[in-house]
Amino acid sequence: MQMTAAQALIRCLELEGVEVIFGYPGGAILPVYDALCQSGNIKHVLVRHEQGAVHAADAYARATGRVGVVMATSGPGATNLVTGIANAYMDSIPLVLVTGQVPTSQVGTDAFQEVDITGITMPITKHNYLVKDAKRLPAIIKNAFHIASTGRPGPVLVDLPKDVAAETIDFDYPKTVKLRGYKPTYSGHRTKILEAADLMMKAERPVIYAGGGILNSGATAELMDLAEVLSAPVTNTFMGLSGFPGDHPLFLGMLGLHGTRYANLAVTHCDLLIALGARFDDRVTGKISSFAPGATVIHVDIDPAEIGKNVRVHVPIVGDVRQVLRGILAHLKKKDRSGWLEQIRQWKEQYPLTYVRDGRFKPQAVIEKLSRHTRGEAVVATDVGQHQMWVAQFFRFKHPGTLISSGGLGAMGFGLPAAVGAQIGLPDRLVILVTGDGSLQMTMQELATAVDQKLPIKIFVLNNSGLGMVRQLQELYCDRRYMATRFKFVPDFALLAKAYGLAGHTVKSEEELDRLLPGVLSSPETVIVNCLVDPEENVSPIVPAGHGIDQAIDC
């Protein structure tokens, strides 16, 4: 069938089952927008800054497991996506981004709103394309979705010059993908699987260390089976949180820099570390030579490049975590490890995760209340900073994929647009945003999008009038010389909410919050709850820089 490449693009998206696009129009992408508004099948969410579009699509992907799709114009539209692309890349989130580009004849001439976005995003995309031939567009879109969503997922960018978009082509959507250089391995190597199963049966003190790969591959049920069959405790990376039930007796909580002491102790003393879809990030391992020093390491990951990148691995298994676990489970028998579990129980008792209740309004209390009131059922988006760690520590997640947060890049400003994307993907679920006063300001323009789309997001600002995490680091490492981390001025978020046509409340105590919470959580509106919490509160425990993770201190 004859159509313009822009129309073909929309047709491709329909055939990929895309239901929603997050975007912002502009000159170079006009032909695509013109085709888009004539398609009845795809919803478009107009954000207020392109960074909002990419974070929203990212969260939509995390919440639904589908590919997030973004559209932006050339130049600033494209560069405004960069942080969001890097964020999705670091956290392995499937995204397809279409950017407009100046006409082919002007590419490379510093034309109006021209940037070399394929060059710029080379280090932060799984792959990217500049479409030079309209006839190639359908195959490129097919490839883009395939690459983004298979193997280790990631963002793929397609840059489409305006003249190419306007060209007429014979539309034919390829049924198969032909990519010589891209063939992910899914099933683990059989002998390695046997070796792993054997080690698991022989180990005395195993610990399962599970990352975001559990969620990406949908391996949460298998993870549960593994833990229960082996009677092995499970610790999650930040990215892995919600991949194992927060109230399960085998759960150790998060490990690493701000992990629980018992998770960190368990890892330090284990004789077998079963790493599943995790990548031994610096925030997880602390001083690398002291990380699980006595352990044999099994590492299961879809990305071969992660294996052996940071630590030495004894049994590497390249494959999809879910498939590999199924293979391993077939060779396991129920194992009782009461001695090891008793040791862990003692550590849990000795070093519980807690905070000082001194009568001041504690941010941790807000999270505990949210966790209790929602019975861990809510989808929780966060920003980056102290509040993020408190969510990780004190919210007991029940369902996979319900924590939506920026792990690898640590991008402040992710939260609000992420909540928008999550709520659009999951219209019937309760979506909560926990954010800080610094983070919320970064992308607060998206409050207009939340209103525009009538999204009943509940926003809790743990407001400590500053950049709490950096302030905490300055307290610890810079002798309390607080430089540029305490805001002289913070807007009144409750009033701000009203300026956007939302409901806004300010609370100063736990009691006030208790009174407000039931009404807020059941409200059909977008609500901001501005919690004026203790500004000096720290995230504790913390592993000091350069130390092993068993050396955590309270602060």
Partner: protein, 170 residues
Amino acid sequence: MRHTLAVLVENNPGVLARVAGLFSRRGFNIDSLAVGRTERPDVSRMTIVVEGDDRVLEQVTKQLHKLVDVIKINDITPDEYVDRELVLIKVNCEPARRGEIMQVADVFRARIVDLGRKTVTVECTGNEGKINAFEESLRPYGIKELVRTGKIAMLRGNRSTSLDGKKDDE
């Protein structure tokens, strides 16, 4: 240790930038990189010489594999292979001493490709060791300008690293 990698890549624009960018951001050291077309118009081949221990080499290989445009990578270091590099050297040389230079060139089977009033330009091909030795032999005369292509390499015998080829003996 130095490793020689034969890397087949899609003949797409930007593929060199992707590989170069990868090496730079991952902190891998390239000794030399030569790129050119192959027996197939849609495939280019890079010969990359990298410095690093086994861990580094493993990462280089795995990270390269993640580039969608990279089709195949072979570390041919442990194998029997032919490798060549081309060098052009312009040497200071009064006409009276041309004979000497020509003698040195003869030893290395190098060729004089240009004569200036006070210079001689020679080309030489060979493996890296030979090129190094040639360079050293000319150094006393005063090297005015020197350019090397970087190494290219190919397995010996029936074995090949081409797209359909098997590195193992067929």
